[in-house]
């Protein structure tokens, strides 16, 4: 009885007593949820179009952020001397995007093309390798210390009633929403978008009606690079550009399981649920077990989800026929 009181009733009472604090926790969770969603979005895009589960997405974000910082501070690649002209934020972002497109082309050439038609699991493992290469490369080129990133997103906070809201978080949410709308339009109503969806449905059928598969892959990986860049900017501005950025990739996995591997809205909703869930669990249930629930909460939620609804909230049901 005492146990039930401690685990179930206590935290609920606490929530009821200080609703404003609870809302603040929820807001904090929503904001980290937006970040998870951004990374998860990159996963979903690539998975939909090529069936490849890109483990390196988080490292993509790290690499993009590192490149951006490097360009903005005028760092010379490989030497860490600040001798190049410093680029303004907008020019650096464009230049970084070009780098990401180059990366997409390289990945398609070196990793994807030789592995066409291989098992999904082989592709997955090759992206683990890719993640390691990029991690080492990023550190070698730009140095491995923590860097500050400031692209001019306003900071500060204001109060609504008793709830404190960070302006930066609102910006992050706004950018994420904008990105989703742009991607939705891109997928639904442009020629390329239709080709992408065709490829996602059936590689062979798409090839036979004349859709160039390799171009499509380059486009998809470039778009994923763009999403990674945005995620990298957001995370980097918030907590500095550092190695832990690539660990978000791992957090995006449970997000995907929750939302479904093939659904863009799923990635968003899943990210928000995981973000809020782990913050609330940490604040209210964490003290009962010495804290740090955040590290595994998302995975265990995903595990439970896998048992009861493997395709996720919005994913396509996997039907196997003999």
């Amino acid at each position: 009885m005492e146990f039930i009181n401690l685990v179930l009733i206590g935290p609920i009472l606490e929530i009821a007593e200080y609703p404003a604090f609870f809302l603040e926790v929820v807001f904090g969770g929503l904001m980290s949820g937006v970040m998870y969603s951004l990374v998860a979005l990159g996963f979903v895009l690539i998975f939909k179009a090529s069936g490849v589960f890109n483990f390196a997405q988080g490292v993509f974000a790290l690499f993009a952020a590192l490149t951006l910082v490097g360009l903005m501070t005028g760092t010379m690649p490989f030497s860490l001397d600040k001798v190049l002209p410093e680029l303004p934020a907008w020019a650096a972002i464009i230049a970084t995007f070009i780098v990401m497109v180059g990366l997409a082309i390289a990945v398609e050439r070196i990793v994807l093309r030789p592995l066409v038609n291989q098992d999904h699991i082989i592709m997955f493992m090759s992206t683990i390798g890719l993640a390691f290469v990029l991690e080492g490369l990023g550190d070698t080129i730009w140095g491995s210390e923590v860097k500050a990133l400031d692209v001019g997103i306003p900071t500060g906070n204001f109060m609504i009633g008793e709830i404190q809201i960070q302006i930066f978080d609102l910006w992050a949410a706004g950018v994420a929403a904008f990105l989703v709308v742009v991607l939705a339009v891109f997928f639904q109503s442009t020629r390329t978008g239709r080709a992408l969806r065709a490829v996602a449905d059936d590689h062979q059928a798409a090839l036979s009606v004349g859709i160039p598969l390799k171009n499509i892959w380059i486009i998809v990986w470039s778009v994923a690079g763009l999403v990674a860049l945005v995620a990298g900017i957001m995370w980097g501005s918030k907590s500095g550009v550092q190695f832990s950025l690539s660990l978000i990739a791992l957090k995006a996995l449970p997000v995907l399981i929750l939302g479904g591997f093939t659904s863009v809205p799923g990635a968003i909703v899943g990210g928000l649920i995981i973000g809020v869930g782990e913050k609330v669990a940490e604040v209210y249930w964490g003290p009962l077990v010495n804290g740090a629930i955040e590290n595994w909460f998302a995975y265990v939620v995903a595990l439970v989800f896998l048992l009861f609804r493997p395709q996720g909230l919005f994913g396509d049901k996997i039907i196997e026929r003999v």
Binding site: L250, N290, L307
Partner: protein, 358 residues
């Protein structure tokens, strides 16, 4: 000329199905084993045992464990580090809780406990496949390392949070604890790993191994011809965890002596073991050994070459190591998905018809 099977007639099914059907193979393996058992202890130094031979053997065992699951049964796992932690903690709790328990029994029991935990996390594998399963095993990794870090009972309430193996003896020789001689630990490791590897080899070439491979190659077909997927997969999970758990227990007791569980068996260990079986060879016993040796030796060699000879900074060498390993993974997946073991097999094929290839 020297490596061929002409004149070796198989007169019984037993000899036809032997582990090493060609005599030269058997000689080679026995010679290698004797070399490791007799010659290496003769001139090996403390550093050589502690930094190279013992970790190679222990990680070989972990790689065998993961290979049983991933290479033979086709279930990807990213939770190897977590299961090694279970083995280590089980070993620690058993030795401190039951001081009179013989050390070998302790190791085997730690393996069994890990097998139980592995079974638990293997349950979702019935419904999910591929990277869905990888996420489930990631859950195991993070949950287990959190559990061992936060619950003080697993560390016997030591304030530092590290677990330290008390001294234990096997046949009168100290093999664990600060006073154990590196050579004794090495020899014990070697014998233990060889016995377990032989057991695994015999397991995978028998009915159990065939059922695993049937599931790996096409699970629906396997189900239709009468293999039960759930039982088969769970068996693979528990046997795999048994090996991985023993590897973890040995890493604590015979190699490191004292560890902080969450640090020593983190997610990087899981990746390391996965890389071992990809580079060594998925679905190959020899590949597990070769892969482990490669992954342990390559960083040491790289650091030596880059720092000592080329005069680069240690940090750069560390970054380069990442690029090197990632590159190797991609290279092997693209060029030779069956790893070094397959290359070795091809060499043997060539050697058979040398010097008169037809």
């Amino acid at each position: 000329m020297f490596y061929r099977e002409s004149g070796q007639f198989k007169t019984s099914y037993q000899s036809d199905q032997a582990v090493f059907p060609i005599r030269q193979d058997l000689w080679c393996v026995v010679a290698f084993f004797l070399f490791a058992l007799v010659v290496i202890p003769y001139f090996g130094t403390e550093y050589f045992f502690q930094a190279i031979m013992i970790p190679v053997l222990i990680f070989s065992l972990a790689a065998i464990g993961l290979n049983l699951l991933t290479g033979y049964c086709g279930q990807l796992s990213l939770g190897t580090g977590g299961f090694m932690a279970v083995g280590a903690v089980a070993c620690y709790k058993l030795t401190t809780g039951f001081p009179e328990l013989p050390f070998i029994i302790t190791l085997l029991l730690s393996g069994l406990i890990t097998a139980g935990v592995g079974l638990l996390f293997g349950i979702p594998s019935l419904r999910i496949k591929g990277f869905y399963l990888a996420v489930a095993t990631l859950a195991a990794q993070f949950f287990l390392s959190w559990l061992f870090n936060k619950v003080a009972w697993f560390q016997n309430y030591t304030p530092s949070g590290t677990i330290t193996m008390p001294p234990r003896e096997v046949l009168g020789y100290a093999v664990t604890g600060p006073n154990a001689d590196a050579m004794h630990r090495y020899i014990f490791c070697l014998l233990f790993v060889i016995v377990l590897a032989m057991a695994a080899k015999n397991l995978v070439r028998g009915p159990i191994g065939r059922s695993w491979m049937a599931i790996r190659d096409m699970d629906i077909a396997a189900e239709l011809i009468g293999f039960r997927p759930f039982q088969t997969k769970l068996l693979a999970f528990s046997v795999s965890s048994f090996y991985v758990g023993i590897a973890g227990a040995m890493a604590l007791s015979l190699w490191l002596g004292s560890v902080e569980t969450a640090e020593a068996f983190d997610i990087n260990v899981s990746f390391q073991v996965l890389f071992m079986i990809i580079i060594g060879g998925l679905g190959s016993m020899m590949g597990s050994f070769v892969g482990a040796a490669f992954i342990i030796l390559a960083p040491i060699a790289l650091t030596n070459v880059m720092v000592s000879w080329l005069g680069m900074q240690a940090v750069t060498a560390k970054h380069f190591e990442f690029i090197f390993f990632g590159g190797m993974i991609i290279f092997f997946l693209v060029v030779e998905p069956h790893g070094i073991a397959r290359i070795w097999q091809l060499v043997k094929e060539k050697l058979r018809i040398w010097p008169l290839p037809y």
